[in-house]
Symmetry: C2
Subunit: 442 residues, 2 copies
């Protein structure tokens, strides 16, 4: 986009966000339903645009996984529209009271949720991700600046055109949505720390890392997902096999898939053959350290393998002599995403849940449960390994900031100052009911 | 600090933080009390060190406000130690359950609070701020890397030495606390995005802005505090005068002090003389726009004055013709810190509370209430104008991150997949009681 056009679009977006962030939920929810209907009505145009993108990507020699992500067909459209309608049914995330405290008689404090402002989303080939994030931003009252992958250029344009048509009759308009198209726009976005409040990059690890290292805008996401499972000496070994297999093979390209299996030496001689057999049956290649290879026949693991997110049917396996060695391995090699322990020993499990500093710490289940939908968050914005703002699977709450509201009757701080000053009550109140800002009505 | 010594100290700090973050509250609270006792016992040494700092600062021609902040005397020691003891009495912020959801029978999800990790604190002359942030970090299980102002070098050293002596007998030790001293250390800190999870700079606006613009570490704080008060046409004018005066003069150098007064034209002819008189009595210089000067005798305000944080007894005043003009002025000129409306009109007040996008939005009270202690947060880490993580006055909660804990009985995601897969229950449960990680006992 021309720089001057971009500046004008951002100015309009900011104005529009003011209206969006204070709009009643009924307006936003009705518009979401209209967007879903519109996408279904525009199906032919969307599929045509997508065919053109697929043709070009095919000619350019793009690989099957990319073509699969890029494809936007009847099934994807159906799932996408169902997703948008689901978002419209979620409860309004704006203006929820999260704290309420009577500072003194007639001096009432509330902390309420409020949209972050402007979200910048950079993603690769998946057109359905565009619709998902647009619907989440609309629901949460945030403006959105989107940059899609060049492979999906025509599909993205068609999707945004359809969404804009649906917005045309709404009071909310569509200025809160800006689509960027050129590759140069990515670097421009990374520098927009005055205009973008939060960046959500989706794509390869290298891409996410590039974004994180080239912007001062806060980034929601994760580069690596090097997830480990520790099979303790007190583990139910059948359970351990089932959980390890599910964690590895249920969707190997996912960030919450298992990459490293740590096995206590006391159970290694029995467990390793069991797990090796199950993995082999599922086409998984095991890379084992020396002590693993003493029990089973497998490829030799190098130290680097324990720092690797394979995203494929490969698993690094290591024997450890203690709980402590397992936890230290995870601290050094892991990416603080999702780590699990399999054990029937409650005390060891509790230590693991306390001591492992990862976004998700699991006990006796698959690492693949680390997901916004499975967690019951209603919708997933992304998975964050940051320590700030949101960590782990992030739902709509991750798109919200807050405001403090204080209603007085003319109180001054001088009245509460000095030896004879009034004292604060600081009485906690229930957060039920509508906020001091009233309800957002049409 | 030599780079190699720093690296060794950081390595020890990180190891120590693992212990601190999983330590029982009783250990941390006992250590806080011991630290307060120790500071009192070391009073003579602390005062001597402070005298030496004061002498040198005096010789260097430092101004009175700095010398005042630098001074660490009996009163400051008393207040500081009382602060530390108060922190020890706050409830434990670690491992609090913030969400609890039964995903399915035997599959229990919890979100619990967990320390952020390592906090970097850069501050100017105030030695009491050092003790405050150290006690908050200890309480919240975070490691801390401190860089104090060079003026307070000896006082800071003496304080840290006293704190370390108190830690010596505790299982927690004092490796979680690192003190940096040289100016070069600041830039080194700004580059430590692998080791520091959150930076808290305290000091001048220019200094905070420098930090924000030269690091990729998330920063908690605010550069400007350009706070506005809008006196609506439906305002109680006596209340408006009292609130404006308190907001301006109660502590003019504070970030929540009033800098801009917006007056509706319908009440300007009556209100302006009233407020001018009250401000004059309190030594405040008014800078008014043309329409203000039609009602009262004052200095002419330039456009720049409405973008200025005076931090002094100066107030920019402007007449507006509508609520909308006032809110637009605040959006363009303000710093999203604290803004207030004075009005008896509930609908207008509610619009203001909804539409003004600032950390603190107040109705019929002084802007000076924007403060962690007044808000009842127990302790104040700082005031943030960021949209991410924490906004407004920040208490201990601002030093916390979270983890998701999931306890299963061998569940796999494959069991919940496909047309015949099990369905999730997603039943919300009370967050009362101890977490899956158990209680942190000695």
């Amino acid at each position: 986009m021309e720089h001057s056009a971009l500046v004008a679009n951002i100015a309009r977006l900011k104005k529009s966000v003011g209206k969006l962030s204070t709009s009643p939920a009924t307006l936003r929810d009705a518009l979401l339903l209209r967007i879903a209907d519109g996408l279904e009505r525009d199906a032919v145009a969307l599929f045509e645009a997508n065919h053109a993108d697929l043709d070009e990507a095919g000619k350019a020699g793009e690989k099957v996984p990319l073509l699969k992500r890029l494809k936007f067909d009847d099934d994807k459209l159906l799932a996408t529209c169902e997703g948008v309608r689901q978002v419209s049914r979620l409860s309004d995330p704006i203006n929820t009271v999260t704290q309420r405290r009577m500072l003194d008689d007639g001096l009432l404090l509330e902390q309420v949720t409020f949209p972050i402002g402007v979200i910048g989303m950079i993603f690769e080939a998946r057109p359905d991700a565009l619709v998902q994030i647009v619907s989440l931003c609309l629901k949460s009252g945030n403006g959105i600046i989107l940059k899609g992958g060049k492979e999906a250029l025509r599909t993205n344009r068609a999707l945004v055109a359809s969404i804009r048509r649906s917005c045309a009759d709404s009071q909310l308009g569509s200025d809160w949505l800006v689509l960027l198209e050129s590759h140069a726009d990515v670097d421009e976005m990374l520098g927009m720390d005055k205009d973008i409040d939060l960046l959500i990059p989706r794509g390869s690890n290298a891409f996410v890392r590039y974004v994180m290292e080239h912007t001062r805008i806060p980034v929601l996401g994760h580069a690596d997902g090097i997830c480990a499972m520790y099979v303790d000496q007190a583990a139910d070994l059948d359970m351990a096999v089932a959980c390890a297999v599910d964690s590895k093979i249920q969707y190997p390209a996912a960030c919450n898939a298992l990459e490293t299996l740590l096995v206590h030496s006391a159970v290694a001689p029995i467990f390793l053959p069991l797990v090796a057999q199950a993995m082999k049956r599922n086409g998984v290649t095991i890379k084992g350290d020396e002590r693993v290879r003493a029990s089973i026949d497998c490829v030799a693991a190098m130290e680097d393998d324990f720092f690797t997110e394979f995203l494929a049917l490969t698993l690094a396996v290591k024997v450890v002599d203690s709980y402590e060695e397992a936890v230290e391995h995870i601290a050094i090699h892991g990416s603080h995403h999702t780590d699990a322990i399999i054990t029937d020993d409650v005390a060891t499990a509790q230590r693991f849940l306390r001591e492992v500093d990862s976004a998700d710490v699991f006990w006796n289940c698959s690492t693949r449960f680390s997901d916004g939908f499975r967690f019951g968050l209603g919708a997933e914005v992304g998975i964050s390994t940051a320590k700030i703002h949101a960590r782990g699977p992030v739902g709509l709450a991750g798109l919200m900031s807050s405001k403090w509201l204080l209603r007085g009757q003319g109180q001054t701080v001088a009245q509460y100052t000095g030896p004879h000053g009034k004292k604060f009550l600081h009485r906690e109140l229930s957060t039920d009911g509508i906020s001091l800002a009233g309800s957002f009505e049409e």
